[in-house]
Amino acid sequence: MTREMLDRKIRQLHDEILVLDSLVEQAALDAIQALKRQDLEAAQKIYHNDRVINARRFELENDCMITIATQQPIMATDLRQVASILEVVGELERMGDYAKGIARICLRIGKQPHIKPIVDLPRMAEIAVGMLHRAVAAFVSLDVNEAQAIPQDDDQVDELYQRIYRELIHIIRENPETIDQANLLMWAAHNLERMADRVTNICERTIYVATGQMKEIDVTDDEDLSQ
């Protein structure tokens, strides 16, 4: 087996993942900023840029397939590595969709005045993107300790999510006319909450590549009704 060539290929795939990840991180942060500032032009751009993320995902998947076909990573860490890259790429693409969803929410709300100041959502986005950044770095460097630590931060995201939820319910009760926008903001929060959950999946993959153990990382129950 041409070890060197396979190693080079995997390094290349890792680089491509880092690029894809930075696109996703940027899209999520930009989407929340656009929502906060009601910047419809920016939201429009983020919405369309999701195509770039999707195209990169397919490219990366294709590169994985070529690596499997030509370099035959058929055993042990190599196989787990390439199979997990496929998985992580899928997770990143879905997170890109969440960012796109937030951009769409921004467009739907348009210029109507916000029913509450957008403060907790940017905080949520910051934490979720921070988790994502660390998780992808841990994945490419196979840092198991880091991968085990990151999901703990999900508690903060869940807490913010619960707070936003309660606040929005309160606003709806006070003034039922706010229900449309409240519902949209709830979705934005939900998207960020899901994003952080998917970070945990990336961490699980890191542990799997390094140890061969496939196990779920338990985080506190977030009462996610969609599951």
């Binding site: 087996m1 041409t2 070890r3 060197e4 060539m5 070529i66 030509t70 035959q72």
Partner: protein, 256 residues
Amino acid sequence: MDKFVIEDLTVQYSDGAESLRQISMAIPANSITVLFGPAGGGKSTLLRTLNRLNDLADVVRISGKVRLFAADGSSVEVLDRRTDVIALRRRVAMVFARPIVLPLSIYQNLSYALEMAGERRKPVLDQAVERSLRKAALWEEVKDRLQDPAAALSGGQQQRLCLARSLALEPEVILLDEPTSGLDPISTNKVEESLQELKQNYTIILVPHSIQQAARTADQAAFFLQGDLIEYRPGKEIFLNPQDRRTKDYIEGRFG
């Protein structure tokens, strides 16, 4: 840039069997071109046609054109009877499946051909020996025992010695006919790695010993079946998404 351009090449052996039928293909310089397919497909015949080793075989009919290009764009017609075969084989070297070392020292195995070619200066020979051993990734293993008999080397080392020997004459093309078929995985790995290095400066045409090796090494790959060239495309395309049903069946292990 194309190193070889082959047009309508047909080779027929004396038993009447056509070993190659109207093969046309261009082989680019500075890359690894792999010829693969089941036994009897014509891969070795093509390889042996490229430096006229078939002159010695029982070939009754050979037709078509094989042109070998130099860096300056000039070309020679390989099949032309007037072509200087010795000069051709200096440009187009061959490494066989089984390492055939000369019953001489490691050093002499490498200097022999140069001495035959008239080179007598010790420093020039020393340099050529070291350079070719380095290129074949063997230098570190033998530098302290160059005077030992080559036959004492392991199989993998002997094969790399043969590769080094072909490099000593500074060829432009290296033909390899299942060069790792008798080697262990570690030695195979070393040979494959040196090929990846060598392709920067040489044109490499390889008949691999397995389909896996074909996939690993090929920049472009040609699938041969019973004398016909079925499919010839970049390696990453042909092994992931073969276009011809027969290529696909062979790659997937349905026959061969």
